[in-house]
């Protein structure tokens, strides 16, 4: 069995260290080594988007990265979106629009939306649907998610 390697990451602004066997996926490193359960594991081959996190400010699939290969990277997860007793405007919009049911896919949608609205603060519905095309939801359906993203965009624009 290959030896474990020390990995240092900046996660949600904090320096975190852990030991990882080379084959340990970032998703499992976050969940099992660091106790950050926000990134969910769905398909484990990059299709469903439930494990989406940000690496160096851009969305990535945490199931398609090895923790050891990211030593020194800056990672943001859904836990860093807002403080423990508050909601980020995107979370608030998902809450208000019933854009989640079981919630399994939600953290991935939230981070995909975060990156998308940074690039495109005033999207139309078609652009929102395109941006969400690689995140799968199996229970709520997409109508309310699309509504939530539009509302989040308006809230973020108003806050600017």
């Amino acid at each position: 069995m290959p030896e474990k390697i020390e990995v240092t990451l900046t996660i949600n602004g904090e320096t975190r260290r852990g030991l990882a066997e080379p084959r340990l996926l970032l998703a499992d490193f976050l969940r099992h080594e660091l106790g950050l359960m926000g990134a969910h594991i769905g398909c484990e081959h990059g299709v469903c988007g439930a494990c989406t996190i940000l690496i160096d400010g851009r969305t990535a699939r945490s199931c398609l990265h090895f923790a050891v290969a990211l030593d020194g990277a800056v990672i943001d997860t859904v836990e860093g979106l807002a403080g423990p007793d508050e909601l980020h405007p995107i979370q608030e919009a998902f809450h208000q629009n019933h854009a989640l049911q079981c919630g399994y896919c939600t953290s991935g949608f939230l981070l995909t939306t975060l990156e998308f609205l940074r690039r495109n603060p005033d999207p139309d519905e078609d652009e929102i649907r395109r941006a969400l095309t690689n995140n799968l939801c199996r229970c709520t359906g997409y109508t309310n998610i699309v509504k939530a993203v539009a509302e989040a965009a308006a809230a973020l624009r108003a806050a600017d």
């Binding site: 996926l25 851009r58 969305t59 699939r61 690689n134």
Partner: protein, 286 residues
């Protein structure tokens, strides 16, 4: 699933990477963005014993002009190329193809050279490399060689890369101002895997086509040039009649495979339709 166990190294320079590749032979694989390799490892379809990360090799992270070429080092991520003014200006065909590669999260991490080296038969960038007369710059510990894109893609997931070699860069031909380009794709869903795609590049001088490059995905076991159609357009006006003849010529030589996503006859129909649209779109300059 989880990948099978492997060892890992991340040399700080290209020389170290090539040394590790040489030491591991067929058991070593390069890790760049991992967007093609890691899914296969998670499914245990691929089990490298040594994964050699190039992510510390900043010397491979360059996008620059060299004479008639736009050269893209092995660590250039697809999203960075997509957002690059240099790519937009010098290789608009590449800029047209990039948005079709995976999703945003994949392009943020995946590299241009990684996609090419993986050799998926429906990889958009392989068609772009063919029409942009791509030159694959292959490095190994004991020397370098270049292979034309046309000789690089041998079969599905099989390229000219030998054990101990890596694709260190790809040089795309810079496109002149009077070139017309189009890249069109159809999939079962937008931004999913392609069922079929067409890349076209027409060098126009005074209303005549001086040279034509046409490549298709889904017309054979790898991306392929459609020379019969190129020849019809070369030294010709690109009018309705020429387009019709080019499309007919393409139809006759497409060997479209059948799979879960489309049968061969449907793919052939889609490809000829896409070719006609691509030629018209290129000429309209849309």
């Amino acid at each position: 699933m989880k990948p099978a166990p492997f060892s890992f190294c991340a040399p700080g320079d290209l020389a170290g990477v090539l040394e590790a590749l040489a030491a591991n032979g067929e058991d070593g694989r390069i890790l760049a963005g991992g967007q093609s390799l890691v899914p296969l490892m998670n499914l245990r379809l691929v089990r490298p014993e040594m994964l050699i990360s190039i992510n510390r090799c900043s010397e491979l992270d360059y996008l620059r002009l060299e004479g008639d070429s736009l050269v893209c080092g092995a660590l250039v991520r697809q999203a960075r190329a997509e957002e690059s003014d240099l790519v937009q200006e010098e290789c608009p065909l590449l800029a047209m193809a990039l948005p079709y590669v995976g999703g945003q999260a994949n392009r943020n991490r995946g590299t241009i050279c990684g996609s090419l080296a993986h050799g998926d038969p429906l990889a958009e960038l392989s068609a772009a490399a063919l029409v942009l007369d791509g030159e694959m710059r292959i490095a190994a510990r004991d020397g370098q060689r270049t292979v034309a894109a046309e000789d690089f893609f041998l079969d599905g997931l099989t390229t000219a890369l030998q054990p101990g070699e890596m694709l260190a860069a790809v040089a795309f031909q810079r496109q002149g101002g009077d070139e017309r380009s189009a890249f069109l794709e159809m999939g079962n869903r937008e931004h999913g895997f392609a069922v079929a795609a067409v890349a076209t590049r027409l060098g126009m001088v005074g209303g005549r086509c001086e040279f034509a490059r046409i490549a298709m995905l889904g017309a054979g076991p790898t991306a392929r040039r459609i020379r019969a159609a190129e020849e019809i357009l070369t030294d010709s006006e690109v009018d309705d009649a020429a387009i019709e003849r080019a499309v007919t010529a393409a139809h006759d030589i497409i060997e479209a495979p059948s799979d879960l996503h489309a049968d061969g006859e449907f793919r052939r129909h889609v490809l000829t339709t896409l070719l006609e649209r691509a030629l018209r779109q290129a000429m309209a300059g849309e």
